[in-house]
């Protein structure tokens, strides 16, 4: 996680038509022009630091405590680098070398001019003509010394540490550390496996005291729950007495923690990270649509992590969304096609449904879609509805919003449902009309996707009146029980598609695992059904369907599938 924010992206968000003022510096002998100011953790312009300047030059300076989206603390000392500034003569003019270039004064200790003095790259602003020596012997020596200091009391228990494989301490030790320890005394032992909160376990011995977790919970979540207690070698991260570390964003500290000190209880000892296949996806828990990375192995989803997207969620996501994946592997997942309550096949079920729908009189069919479906699925349902003259609607799902990420709309694609015309400004407004239609006998067939309509005014006795009830869902409920044709569908990690979040951000997600049993991504059988009933769409791929949809519906502005990157595009609604 925490992919570095590229300066051009952030620059583009600022409304600054004149080219930004730049400063020329040298990084490892390479001259680069960097903006004089860059956005700080809150996005406000601040003097560019050496670390940011080095990044512009393509040089990564190792660091633990620095994070793009957190206040700078400068306490880990890992980013120490040797640097130099143009020498100024007594006449306040730059001193020049014989070849005319400015003479550079390397940073040295004030009381010991022969010894190089480093500066922390994360908090030292650049000045014109500055030279940063990210690879010099003195810099390397400083890094070695810092790492040795950090490792003095480290337990070196990587075999049992969940962070192993994505641990900055491991990585920097390999890249910049020493092969052997010179430390012969007994190590200081600190509390291990501390229960820090309902979702977090803390191992104090592994902590490098970078305070990223403290800054995150204080400055980002506004829940000042963590702090450092004790002195010297006994420094320990701890929750404040009487406070529990249980806000809805605690698991972000696990991502933030560069070492294995903070680990997730949910992911604890579950799978080694190097086995996980990473798939770019989108969280389906609310309308925000946080970008996620699904970690899966051999068809099993093991964890979700936030994927940085400054236009949506930054590098964060909430704990609720992060842990909302376990139902995917539930044993009672719908895995069989059922016709009339008996196990059947896709071809039989689709043939029967097609036959019924093709002969259905206009107005005798109603469709209840779900705002959890992808745009492409909704588009196909709308095609069906138009052909059949059917009433359509989706179901609203509301909750409490918070001030950071969680949206009040708990459907991931309410906007998409509105744009495709499946639901209206207020979702669910048509449901009573459908219920009445069934009661009066004008509606003979009902198609339900991913919703339990018995909870929304169309109860089992009404459903019993129907000639045909086609239900596609993932988990069993009262509606799937009543279905004449039950079509098992796929969860978001099992298919591809696009959502539009509450702010109009169109985002696509990819397939991480296979759907269980006979279950298929809805798009596949909906395509067959829509082609058979409403005439062919002329495309059989999700890309083609998406392009067709964006061409048909003006709100999508004709955006092509290939133009929607992994971080999405914002629609102008």
């Amino acid at each position: 996680m925490s992919a570095p924010v590229t300066p051009p992206a952030t620059a583009a968000t600022q409304a600054a038509p004149p080219p930004p003022e730049t400063v020329t510096v040298k990084v490892n002998g390479k001259t680069v022009q960097v903006p004089k100011t860059m956005p700080n953790w809150q996005g406000k312009p601040e003097a560019t630091t050496m670390l940011q300047a080095a990044r512009c030059a393509g040089v990564d300076i190792p660091h633990y405590c620095y994070h793009d989206k957190l206040p700078v603390a400068g306490n880990c000392r890992m980013c120490l680098v040797e640097f130099g500034t143009p020498m100024i003569g007594p006449d306040r003019k730059p001193v020049l070398n014989e070849d005319g270039s400015p003479k550079i004064a390397r940073s040295v200790l004030p009381y010991e001019p022969g010894t190089p003095r480093g500066a922390i790259a994360c908090a030292t602003p650049i000045s014109p003509g500055m030279e940063i020596y990210a690879d010099s012997p003195a810099t390397k020596q400083m890094r070695e010394a810092v790492l040795e200091s950090l490792l003095i009391n480290h337990p070196l228990d990587c075999p049992i540490c969940d962070q192993a494989g994505e641990c900055k301490l491991q990585e920097y030790s390999v890249q910049h550390g020493q092969a052997e320890s010179r430390f012969v005394e007994a190590k200081v032992h600190k509390p291990k496996a501390v229960d820090l909160g309902p979702r977090i376990i803390l191992d104090d011995e592994r902590c490098v005291l970078c305070t990223r977790c403290i800054r995150f919970t204080k400055d980002i979540v506004n829940d000042d729950a963590l702090g450092i207690v004790n002195r010297g070698s006994y420094n320990t991260i701890s929750a404040f007495p009487g406070k529990t570390f249980d806000n809805n964003y605690t698991l972000n500290t696990v991502d933030l923690c560069p070492v294995g000190a903070l680990t997730s209880k949910d992911f604890r000892f579950k799978m080694r990270v190097w086995f996980l296949k990473e798939t770019a996806s989108v969280c389906t828990t609310c309308g925000t649509g946080c970008n996620t990375t699904i970690g899966s192995r051999e068809g099993v989803v093991h964890r979700l992590e936030p994927r940085a997207n400054d236009a949506v969620n930054g590098p964060w996501m909430c704990d609720t969304g992060r842990l909302n994946y376990k139902w995917i592997a539930r044993a009672d997942r719908l895995k069989e096609v059922r016709v009339g309550g008996r196990k059947s096949t896709w071809s039989t079920a689709l043939r029967e449904i097609t036959a019924k729908l093709s002969t259905a009189p206009a107005g005798s069919v109603a469709i209840v879609a779900s705002a959890r479906q992808t745009n492409e699925e909704l588009f196909l349902l709308k095609r069906l509805a138009t052909k059949l003259g059917a009433i359509t609607d989706s179901i609203a799902r509301e909750g409490e919003p918070d001030r950071l990420l969680v949206s009040g709309d708990r459907n991931p694609n309410s906007t998409g449902a509105r744009l495709t015309g499946v639901s209206f400004t207020e979702a669910g407004i048509q449901l009573p009309k459908i219920a009445a239609g069934i009661a009066s006998g004008t509606i003979r067939s009902l198609i339900v996707f991913g919703e339990d309509v018995t909870q929304h005014g169309i109860d089992a006795s009404l459903l019993a009146k129907l000639d045909m009830l086609v239900v596609s869902d993932i988990l069993p409920n009262a509606t799937t029980e009543a279905a004449t044709h039950l079509l098992p569908g796929a969860a978001a990690p099992e298919k591809r598609g696009t959502f539009v979040n509450v702010k109009g951000r169109l985002q696509k997600f990819h397939k991480a695992v296979e759907a269980p049993g006979d279950a298929r991504p809805e798009i596949e059988f909906l395509q067959e059904l829509a082609d058979a009933v409403a005439g062919p769409t002329g495309t059989s791929t999700i890309e083609g369907l998406f392009n067709r949809m964006t061409a048909d519906i003006p709100a999508f502005g004709g955006v092509q599938w290939s133009a929607v990157g992994d971080t999405g595009v914002t629609l102008s609604l």
Partner: protein, 197 residues
């Protein structure tokens, strides 16, 4: 030129008669016969396998088994490095997960819920032993692994531990625990801990 023509010595008439080579052949074959035949030398090179067993040399790479430490505790901590490094993917480890059985040893925190080696896939390369940070898996001296079904040749944790026996080592987790206990008590009590020392 890389080709070297070797001068071939012309054969004399006596040599061309095949008689010296015939006699030489008789001599060579007779010497072997004399050494091997039971009533003469009785020194065949063949080892009569099921009755005579081969003495496995030190460092032989036989079947990989899990070992226990001198206190009978499982050494494996389920780090899964062997599973990762295994070239034929013969090793399969089920990690303990959040609520798994705690490790046999006080301080090691975890051990595998299940550990399977498919001996039909294993190529006895020894990378698992090489990579193991806990000295928990060793290629031992078993070279004759047989079974009547494929399932039988997938050795589970219990079987691997039983076959592996004990390997006395430095017991680093125990050492760490002792070091922690020898230390003055931690200055300030912090949160309630799951694993008390």
């Amino acid at each position: 030129m890389s080709t070297k023509v070797v001068e071939r010595k012309p054969l004399s008439a006596w040599e061309r008669s095949y008689i010296p080579s015939f006699l030489g052949g008789l001599g060579v074959t007779w010497n072997h016969f004399k050494r091997t035949a039971p009533f003469l030398g009785n020194k065949p090179i063949t080892m009569e396998y099921p009755e005579q067993k081969w003495v496995v040399p030190e460092g032989y790479r036989g079947a990989p088994y899990l070992v226990k430490d001198q206190e009978g505790a499982t050494k494996c901590v389920s780090c899964q490095l062997c599973e990762f490094v295994c070239p034929p993917k013969a090793i399969r480890i089920t990690p303990p997960g959040e609520n798994g059985q705690p490790a046999d040893r006080a301080n090691a925190e975890k051990m595998p819920r299940e550990f399977e080696i498919n001996m039909l896939r294993c190529i006895f390369c020894g990378l698992c032993q090489e990579v193991c940070p806990e000295e928990a898996i060793f290629l031992q001296k078993d070279y004759s692994l047989t079974g009547t079904s494929r399932e039988e040749m997938v050795y589970n944790k219990e079987k691997l531990l039983k076959l592996g026996g004990t390997h006395a080592g430095i017991q680093k987790w125990k050492h760490k625990l002792e070091e922690a206990e020898a230390q003055e008590s931690f200055p300030v009590a912090t949160e309630p801990q799951k694993h008390s020392h």
